[in-house]
């Protein structure tokens, strides 16, 4: 059964890379608590240290700046809590783990192409003297749109603000340079690029303020208490190394989009005018609700998604597309297609064929329903 499926939902979760799998299993078998001073403990510690170097190398950070967490959601939450700035400015297209991490945030609107308006950012920062934290994601999970992080950092730092960047969807897919960008905090998640689920990291720039929100045994240099998920960390490290040497190009995505637009010339590719991740396409099928598309494609053996998977399964209108000014009825027809390390060209051809079948069968017929909803 597994072979019959075409999995194009890597932004939800990416299958574990074989080398990462081996590292995970090896570490699970070996056991050991990295805080123990005996040999078994020291071996576990060595695994953690080595993975820390690998993860640091992926994003151009120093190993000491990497704090392992249970994933991207925790990393985002602890960055926003840990920076110690009560005033927070976040972009409207952030993941819920940023948007809901605190109350009373100031929301930065985005332009039609999904990109943060630097003028708005500058003006908002100038509106108050209170030191702020700015949180802007590296790449959007639904549209793949890349934000101009270096510019955000320049504007924010000039105003005395700290910058957090949720790079969960960027790292491992395109090159991310932590020290080059100059951000103060950066969130990572392993399972978005072929590492195991349940592990991520918050990268904290040396010298940036950080107050941990989870207290206990003093692990991670007192920045994140709790016995280290050694196997997860080991898998994260290997996946980081592999991802680093295999970053995707835009060729397949462009081919896919051209093919779909040829089938349905009125379809919209969201964020088309912006720099985007090479693995993500967010496209509408005119008149066909995303839910219908997802189910039909699933029956055809293709896994894709309608917006973010994190909303506990609820299919809600995409806040990201709405923030980009997309009409609600149209937003409900948007499908997210995301490739990953094990995607092959045939997968894309299969998707194009299935999409064409569906569109020819039900295109436009569903529109009344979509508008009524």
């Amino acid at each position: 059964m597994p072979d019959a499926f075409t999995y194009l939902d890597h932004n939800a979760t990416s299958p574990l890379r074989p080398a990462a799998f081996d590292a995970v299993v090896e570490a699970l078998r070996a056991g050991g608590n990295p805080s123990s001073v005996h040999r078994v403990g020291r071996t576990a510690r060595a695994r953690v240290d080595s993975a820390r170097r690998q993860v640091a190398a992926l994003i151009g950070a120093r190993p000491s700046e990497v704090v392992f967490t249970s994933g991207g959601t925790e990393a985002n939450n602890s960055a926003l809590a840990g920076a110690g700035r009560r005033r927070m400015l976040v972009s409207a297209v952030e993941h819920d783990s940023v948007l809901k991490a605190a109350t009373g945030m100031e929301i930065l609107s985005v332009q039609g192409n999904g990109i943060v308006d630097l003028g708005v950012l500058e003006k908002s920062l100038a509106a108050s003297d209170e030191p702020a934290l700015v949180s802007v994601m590296f790449a959007n999970n639904e549209t793949g749109v890349l934000q101009p992080i270096a510019d955000v950092v320049r504007v924010a730092h000039a105003a005395g603000a700290l910058v957090h960047c949720d790079a969960v969807q960027g790292a491992g897919k395109v090159s991310v340079d932590f020290s080059g960008l100059g951000v103060d905090y950066l969130s990572l998640s392993a399972h978005k690029f072929g590492g195991p689920a349940g592990i991520g990291a918050l990268v904290v720039r040396g010298g940036a303020p950080f107050v941990p929100d989870r207290l206990g045994g003093g692990q991670e240099s007192n920045r994140r208490a709790g016995t280290e998920n050694v196997a997860g960390i080991a898998g994260f490290g290997i996946a980081a190394t592999e991802a680093r040497s295999g970053l995707a190009t835009t060729e397949w995505r462009d081919h896919l989009e051209a093919a779909l637009l040829e089938i349905a010339p009125t379809a919209q590719v969201y964020g088309a005018g912006a720099d985007r991740l090479p693995n993500t396409t967010c496209i509408s099928m005119p008149g066909v609700r995303a839910e219908t598309q997802v189910m039909a494609l699933d029956l055809a053996g293709i896994c894709v998604s309608a917006g973010a998977a994190c909303s506990s399964g609820k299919v809600t209108r995409s806040a990201v597309l709405l923030a980009m000014g997309v009409e609600p009825a149209e937003a409900e027809t948007a499908l997210r297609i995301s490739f990953g390390w094990n995607t092959c060209f045939d997968d894309i051809e299969r998707l194009i064929a299935a999409w064409r079948d569906l569109y020819t069968r039900v295109g436009y017929s569903d529109i009344g329903h979509a508008q009524a909803a």
């Binding site: 608590n33 001073v37 959601t73 399972h191 989870r214 709790g226």
Partner: protein, 412 residues
């Protein structure tokens, strides 16, 4: 048990540190495997079969875990481990009920993450009572009763201590909490799967569980949160709203599955395993006592999980002993603090003198410990303690009848 062959190769030291972490049971790994490979979906992806498959695994595991503690599966929340569970339980209820109740009761021998959380809450305006423990490590119920007031929001007392393995009288504590209207949280990281736990019979409202202490994976744990009467929590990690809004974040499916499987195995084998481990522990203690004078077990020996011994070897410093017994993986003090040179605060709380605390080792026995390993360990310990005593000025003095306390030691 052929599992042992898989767990330990001959060139590896004998693992006697089961309270720091337990090796994974191969059966647990087996259960996790498919979820690492072909069942890799995101349990929250409701739109395709990969997601459903993952969700099924996660929910089965939740039921397995609930069964272990006599809870309903809806009352179990996945976390990244016991540290997070403890933080969430205590901060969560304290924060939610802060307008009505602002007092917390705990004990001085709790795990660091509970104590640090309580200290943090003190800075936020809560009052915390840190109950002493008796010489055997157990909390005095009368002292507890007197400490809990109508302002107490939560009583957090661990089920089993990580250093000395003593079991607190949970049912009695639960009863007192219920009478006084305070929530009862117990850190059961060291207890789950080793002693019978029943959240109903024991009136437990919140319970923390760790995967890697029950032969499951690291990076996963759970928090039991009672639904009737309902306990409410302020979440610490916000986002996608997973785990009923108590804990956001993509669930690591293989880890959840491993935790569930580990719980089920523990439950099935608990009784037999307790008998076996008690026998092994008694054998070890007998073997040591036969050859070594002046060794002392810290903490109550009866009210204790079978797989723990904490022994002071008078006049032999623990770290040097650990360096000698390099074929044994044991711990001096708690693993989380053993990088520091402070003597164990748990032992100090029992009234163990500082010099004695420096001579203690924690020996943890578990599922893969064999009689042969116990005998080898006894031999190694006897050899090295004897050797180090020959080298110890304190041993020499005590043999000469000099009272060490009569000497004026320079503090440094």
């Amino acid at each position: 048990m052929n599992a042992i062959a898989q767990i330990r190769r001959n060139d590896q030291p004998i693992y006697l540190d089961y309270q720091a972490t337990t090796p994974m049971d191969p059966r647990v790994l087996e259960a996790m495997m498919p979820y690492f490979t072909y069942k890799f979906g995101n349990a929250h992806s409701r739109s395709h079969s990969y997601g459903w498959e993952a969700e099924e695994g996660v929910e089965k595991a939740r039921a397995q875990l609930a069964k272990l503690i006599g809870a309903d599966e809806k009352e179990v929340i996945y976390t990244s481990g016991a540290t997070e569970s403890n933080n969430l339980a205590i901060k969560g209820v304290a924060d939610f009920y802060k307008d009505r109740r602002s007092h917390i009761v705990t004990t001085v021998t709790e795990h660091k993450c509970v104590l640090d959380t309580c200290r943090h809450l003190e800075q936020e305006g809560f009052t915390v009572t840190y109950l002493p423990v008796q010489q055997n490590g157990l909390v005095d119920l009368d002292v507890l009763r007197a400490a809990v007031t109508d302002k107490t929001v939560v009583v957090s007392i661990m089920a089993v201590n990580n250093e000395i393995g003593v079991i607190q009288p949970l049912a009695e504590i639960g009863k007192i909490c219920r009478e006084k209207g305070a929530f009862f949280h117990t850190d059961a990281a060291q207890a789950a799967g080793k002693i019978p736990l029943d959240v109903e019979a024991m009136n437990i409202d919140l319970m923390s569980i760790s995967g890697h202490k029950i032969y499951g994976p690291k990076g996963i744990g759970a928090l039991y949160v009672r639904r009737k009467p309902r306990v409410r929590l302020a979440a610490m990690i916000h986002g996608g709203g997973q785990e009923r809004g108590f804990r956001s974040g993509t669930l690591p499916t293989p880890l959840c599955v491993g935790l569930g499987e580990a719980a089920e195995i523990c439950m099935k084998e608990m009784d037999g395993e307790a008998v076996r481990l008690t026998k092994l522990r008694d054998r070890m203690l007998k073997g040591l006592n036969a050859k070594l004078p002046e060794i002392y077990v810290n903490g109550d020996l009866d009210q204790r999980i079978p797989g723990n011994l904490n022994i002071s070897f008078a006049h032999v410093e623990g770290e040097s002993l650990m360096m000698g017994i390099k074929n044994l993986s044991v711990s001096s003090g708690s693993a989380c603090t053993s990088a520091s040179l402070e003597p164990s605060y748990v032992l100090r709380a029992l009234g163990v003198e500082e010099e004695m605390a420096h001579t203690s080792l924690r020996i943890g026995l578990g599922r893969f410990t064999t009689e042969h390993e116990v005998d080898t360990a006894v031999g190694e310990l006897v050899h090295h303690v004897t050797k180090l005593r020959q080298m110890s000025p304190l041993w020499e003095m005590s043999q000469e009848g000099i009272d060490i306390k009569s000497i004026e030691w320079a503090a440094h």
